[in-house]
Symmetry: C2
Subunit: 141 residues, 2 copies
DNA sequence: TCTCTTACTGAAAAAATTTTTCAGTAATAT
DNA sequence: ATATTACTGAAAAATTTTTTCAGTAAGAGA
């Protein structure tokens, strides 16, 4: 099922700002802020408004098509999301973000935490930070 | 070693805003935003400025005394940090945040990711979201 | 293909957050 | 005590995010 169909099925329309935001993120090599998406989006479609970028990101995130990236400094970065639950691995040098699956790998840890704290764990946020292969190769970090 | 000594040793001074911010977070039952910390801090020390809250949080976070909490909505929450690496478990109903250790539990997953992606993982961010025991008990979520 | 309905749009204004500037203050060392 | 300078609050500036609103266009149905 295409993303257009997924949006429609969820009751949302396929509109220009949503198309443009997705296309910008497809072409991006690192997480982009709403402002950055807006700037790049205008090169594709000059009438694109910043407000629509915010609104598009909100919808696309709910639809699971876009994923927010949390970082030490700013937490306003977005990347394209693969379907289903994924984690994110970010290069601290070039900013490249890679998704990886692995919800199951946390089940042992989650069981342990549930037993010790009495919480019932429902969701989680996991991000790994490091150096990608190219960045590891090129000179001292 | 007290937190005052830790600050001094790192070259920072022990000042009123830093004291107040820590005290507010000690008394808090959930992560607080800079604005909330400022409001509560003023009840302790009315001359406390908002700018100093921002600056205090920055220093205290660097010193490892305070921890930032990332959430779906806003990522501007802070809690008191236990010494060393911890993860955070947050109740989606009452907002209560609990720290828990467990860096080692991720080593298997991290090894796997490193092998598959070529990244060298240096750090990570892990937060669990769920329901605490009291909130699980009291009525339908 | 031509309506109709209304989700959606961009721009402007408003609100909220965060950073910068600066003259004065107070924490630490001597 | 005195000196040094990291640090302070307030105001201003910059930036980000939300709200409002009149108009537009996506998708459904004829
Ligand atoms: Zn890299
Ligand atoms: Zn965040
Ligand atoms: Zn709770
Ligand atoms: Zn950890």
């Amino acid at each position: 099922m295409s993303w257009e169909e997924r949006l429609n099925q969820a009751g949302w329309r396929v509109t220009m700002p949503r198309r443009v935001v997705l296309r910008v993120l497809q072409q991006a090599r690192r997480p982009l802020s709403p402002q950055e998406i807006h700037a790049r989006g205008r090169r594709i479609h000059p009438s694109l408004g910043l407000v629509s970028v915010y609104r598009a990101l909100e919808v696309l995130e709910q639809a699971g098509l876009v994923r927010r990236v949390h970082r030490e400094a700013r937490c306003d970065g977005y990347i394209l999301a693969s379907p289903g639950h994924h984690h994110v691995l970010i290069c601290r040098r070039c900013g490249r973000a890679v998704e990886f699956p692995g919800a199951e790998d946390l089940s042992g840890l989650i069981d342990q935490v549930e037993r010790r704290t009495g919480f019932r764990v429902e969701d989680h946020l996991l991000q790994l930070i490091g150096l990608c292969a190219p960045c590891r190769g090129s000179g001292p970090a």
